[in-house]
Symmetry: C2
């Protein structure tokens, strides 16, 4: 399997894993978001992932993957997962996939990558928290309008994500050497059973470890903390209890999407290290 | 979406559709075949599908797609579906997707395509019925060993499938203008709801219409007829009754895989005509 194929499969395995409390999975659609849209998003992102594996700039490959995802799925299904996967795929495309090489890949991003990233927001409706006070004219919610300021201030894509690292779990991975991604991949490799099930188990563990930043953005920090505490209580619980929690979170509209993004990235690392569905 | 992306998505939507009696679906694994292997097969087939869309010969694109499928899935998940999809994708790649243009695509196959097809058998374990008496030294079960005979006798891939048209539902599509594929696509387009559900509905209708030839090969014609009669009785039944039939067939190991192949092809045609998961 090529790195791009493994990345597409990681997106599919993440979506298929069940129960994955609060997220769409193969057993649970949301009212406005269906499992099959995640299948479409994974297929649509493939050309951008291929470009990343072939050495395209991170920003350009990311923008292409998001455009393809949104075109196929009709909505934002995997924006955050692709933001993690694109540098991972690029690093895997020209050498061994190590935390150090991925860190180098993101640290080497440029102003051009930042421009592409802001363009990607034009393709998909992404939930964003209030930006840090020093963001100002490069608030990502401004989309393409922020591009002149990026160029004036010579801000790279790494700089952009560093600004968000305190409030966004995907940005924290970028600036923290993809630590949770590689830890979760280790965990997946230690488990046995179908890979999508191991992904769901890794999801619950990640959720128990840290409040999900998408839940913080949409519901506030107390709800995000409550969800993580509940996940921790369920770590060794029978599956029917996890299923009930999953149904409850779907009912409440609480969607720990950032944790799902890290799960997809961890599945990719596990696939590159030799795990497979075969 | 490109034709190759639509074909990969059609494979995923076919696999996801539930209940699809006797087949792996998102709610049912078999003991030796899991849903996630179908996700892998669809991802792995992508390069061969890309080649078909870009004008590669039918046989070469098919062999590449089967090799990628088997490499990712570790088994034969979608051999028959790819045999239908590759000429459909090739026809869609350079013009309008009509039954006439697909018929022309398969009729124009050559001896070289037949050679590729026999090579594809080396990548995957495919269930085959006893060949017709006039097959002899080109019995597909001989795999690559049959290649010299193909060349001596100047047998094209279309000729090979014409030999199997009486006993194999995929071969019958090749020589019959993909009639059931396009009919099922019309049916899918008339229904509403998520596309994977419409695929499952089309599957049940196709199964009710004609005995599945993979079931004939593995269990004999009386079982195949019984399964189709039961499917016909369930056409307007509540979903729980179809679910119970699905559980029963999985229990009995009866797998109407040829009907699933035609369902995947029909989903592809529907996607090309404008249906989407968005």
């Amino acid at each position: 399997m090529t790195p791009a194929a493994d990345a597409a499969l990681a997106l599919l395995l993440e979506a298929a894993g069940t129960p994955k409390p609060g997220n769409v999975d193969r057993a649970r659609d949301h009212d406005d978001l269906h499992f099959e849209q995640f299948l479409g998003g994974a297929v649509g992102a493939r050309r951008g992932l291929d470009a990343a594996a072939e050495g395209e700039r991170v920003g350009a490959a990311f923008e292409e993957s998001v455009r393809g995802m949104a075109d196929a799925a009709g909505t934002n299904t995997q924006f955050g997962a692709l933001l993690l996967l694109v540098p991972l795929v690029k690093a895997a495309g020209d050498g061994e996939l190590t935390p150090e090489r991925v860190a180098g890949t993101v640290e080497n991003t440029t102003v051009a990558d930042a421009v592409d990233f802001y363009r990607a927001f034009e393709h998909a409706d992404v939930a964003l928290d209030d930006p840090p006070e020093d963001a100002g004219d490069i608030d990502a919610r401004r989309g393409e309008k922020a591009i002149p300021a990026l160029r004036d201030r010579e801000i790279t894509l790494y700089d952009v994500l560093a600004l968000g690292a305190d409030s966004d779990g995907v940005a924290a991975e970028w600036t923290g050497g993809f630590e949770r991604t590689f830890d979760a991949a280790d965990y997946i490799e230690r488990r046995t059973g179908p890979l999508s099930e191991r992904g769901a188990e890794a999801f619950l563990r990640l959720l128990a470890e840290e409040p999900d930043t998408l839940v913080v953005t949409n519901h506030g920090r107390p709800v995000a903390r409550e969800v993580s505490e509940r996940a921790e209580e369920l770590l060794d619980a029978p599956e029917r209890k996890v299923d009930a929690f999953a149904d409850e979170l779907v009912e409440r509209g609480v969607n720990p999407g950032t944790t799902a993004d890290i799960t997809a990235a961890a599945l990719f690392v596990a696939l590159r290290r030799g795990e497979s569905v075969a």
